[in-house]
Symmetry: C2
Subunit: 429 residues, 2 copies
């Protein structure tokens, strides 16, 4: 019977410092809740000499990750350093050495979730990653446990705080995308290389993780069709507002009637009276729809030092409880189905189109006719402005198969009257 | 090693029928998620001959609850019949016979949570009650697990769907309380005897349960100061709207700076831009604030057949998993502290007051002066109408100790100019 639990931390950046701080601040409560004292035995960092966000005894620090995952005194490895291939190898070694692992690393799980889960199961270890999606918001455990009575139909929502901050600023003050991105970078919300956030990859990884749990079938990141927010202009935001919508980056995973999975990330028009429309700044919100619960929504700070640390430490408490109670590694495999992920061309959405056309009589009719030939039905179509030669028109379609819309757009762009299709966005009902 | 799990159900009313239906509809998935086939072996009902909401083989039905909790073939007792004393005895017997128990019975837990938890622990059985608060919304397990890394400061929100429906109808169509209640009764949202809902008792029981888990110290229903919505008039709703607020029945549990707990249920003015203001109809929403997570909100249908069944079946899956993995009854005691519950007179709130006074010069000044003598500071004070003799005034105070406000009101009601204090409501920041 263990008298205490020793933690080995890989990483002491923003999230790692938060974990260190929460373990220290809430120490007494955590021992009562988990059954055993929790001690940090070693922390692996890149450089030993560096200014830290928290004060850490220097004897805890090392640069040798391999020695931590091989240290027989370490019970739980807490991985908050990021990285994919090298990190995967370290965690596989940790499992082979009988250690439980808590991680916040969505990139890793979205690429190698199956391999890691399998190795954890083989070695009777816990593998917990609540912090990988939605920061502090409970979503992984609810999908595995609280909602286990349901057949889940859909998981959708705002799962990236950086892009939500950028879109919120664009909406509230009419800023251009580049300016809002610059502000987010200055405030530390966006990284110097913002591609992972603004291209929708971060959201896509999170959608891969929740889809795997919701539908019990592994969805990997490359299966998710992602589209970012770099093409969103102040004009789109303004038109959306006039039409009664906000623009949000939406992650969405559904099970279709034929038992296939669809997984997408895209910027979309969200009706202003939809609860997601008022989720602003760095907040995330995730809707789950199931055949018993109907729908539920989970909202909170989707990133940041302390919210993410909240999720990591919640997982640590569970891992320690399992040591204490002798119930480690007793979870079932989540992905027991092999469902096909369908092309997003098969998905059905409403669409918002903005295009520049020749300002001539009959053009709107010709465009409407061309769109109609592809069985895409128009709900609203209006002209925003025209100069001598060019008119800008905005179209909202009824729900249509995405493939049909793409075919229509291809033909439209070949029409002599159509100068440019400037924007294509989905519209959430 | 068990080959299957046999369920004994106590009750087949609205929730029971939902549980029966979900277990049947999602049977295959539930077996994969829990590790074992789940069979309903017997269902205890009050009358054998009765029209049911679901089609149930008559050989499953019995009227003998005692024989079910004593049946050696039953592994899990699912209690969805309600009741307190008699039900408690049945569940204690179930634990002594080594059965796990899943229940939706908030009344029972809010009165005898400690005794039942203790007996479950003693006998190595699971005792799960996610469905007792918030219908299908995950809140019990998040407080015990996902948020276990936090020191929780506050849990607050809308936890009664019936009163939220009534207040929503009063707000949307200016109905009187009695008419909205009647409509709720006709639609089956409110019971023939609506006291438990409209007096705030149901919400008070739920607050007792979540407070116990949030602060790791048992709060029983009698510790919760409850106030219902029967005094809310169409006029209060209208004035609140004019001032930028909606009226909601709020349940609220906090830990004070001195380590005491405050637990209250009251109708309150909620700012229209607060997320709770737009939680309408039968929806519930619960905010949790903690020292790591900041704040998170959980939203969903707080009652009803299928959402409640979702929570019950989620607990059944966990109980079955624990049979399968040999990890039953391995939870720690939640209430390891003994914190004092403080009188609500010690709590601090802003207040909305509506009163009828003599329509004479100097009266407003005299009232403001009297209130000020008790260190209650006025934020807004205005006159709504006056006839020859009477004026109606509305006051919003700054944040003040509730005891001071009560003292002020006592003295005010003795003033010759004050004809009646018609309403006193709290205001949420």
């Amino acid at each position: 019977m263990k008298q205490q639990i020793n933690i080995g931390m890989l990483g002491l950046g923003t999230v790692g410092s938060g974990v260190f701080q929460v373990l220290k601040e809430n120490q007494e409560e955590l021992e009562k809740r988990s059954g055993l004292p929790i001690l940090i035995k070693s922390i692996v960092v890149r450089e030993l000499e560096k200014e830290r966000l928290v004060e850490v005894p220097s004897e805890l620090l090392s640069t040798d990750a391999a020695s931590v995952v091989n240290d027989p005194d370490i019970d739980i490895v807490v991985e908050v350093m990021g990285g994919i291939e090298g990190t995967k190898d370290l965690l596989l070694t940790a499992f082979r050495n009988g250690k439980s692992v808590v991680t916040a690393n969505k990139d890793l799980i979205a690429e190698h979730g199956d391999e890691l889960t399998l190795e954890a199961t083989r070695n009777g270890c816990d593998f917990l990653y609540e912090a990988s999606v939605g920061g502090g918001i409970p979503i992984i455990r609810p999908l595995r446990k609280d909602l286990a009575g349901n057949r889940i139909h859909e998981v959708m929502g705002i799962v990236n705080g950086t892009t939500n901050y950028i879109l919120t600023r664009m909406t509230q003050s009419g800023m251009a995308f580049e300016d809002a991105l610059k502000e987010a970078q200055d405030l530390g919300y966006a990284e110097a290389n913002p591609a992972s956030d603004v291209e929708g990859w971060d959201a896509g990884r999170k959608i891969a993780i929740v889809a795997s749990l919701a539908f019990n079938s592994r969805v990997n990141f490359p299966d998710v069709d992602t589209e970012g927010i770099t093409s969103i202009t102040a004009r789109d935001i303004e038109y959306a507002k006039e039409l009664g919508y906000a623009i949000k980056l939406i992650g969405c995973a559904k099970e279709t009637d034929t038992g296939k999975i669809s997984a997408q990330v895209f910027p979309a028009l969200v009706p202003l009276d939809h609860p997601l429309a008022s989720v602003n700044g760095a907040y995330n919100a995730i809707f789950v729809r199931g055949n018993a619960i109907g729908q539920a929504m989970f909202l909170g700070l989707g990133a940041g030092q302390m919210p993410t640390a909240s999720a990591v430490v919640g997982d640590i408490v569970e891992a320690v409880r399992n040591f204490h109670a002798g119930t480690r590694g007793k979870f079932l495999v989540d992905c027991y189905h092999k469902k096909e992920v369908q092309s997003s061309l098969e998905n059905h959405h409403r669409f918002y189109l903005r295009m520049e056309v020749a300002d001539q009589a009959g053009v709107l009719g010709a465009i409407a006719g061309k769109i109609g030939q592809h069985d895409v039905s128009i709900q609203t179509m209006f002209q925003k402005w025209a100069d001598n030669q060019t008119a800008e028109i905005v179209v909202i379609t009824h729900e249509t198969r995405e493939g049909a819309l793409r075919d229509a757009l291809n033909e439209l762009s070949d029409m002599p009257h159509v100068k440019a299709i400037k924007q294509t966005l989905r519209v959430v009902n």
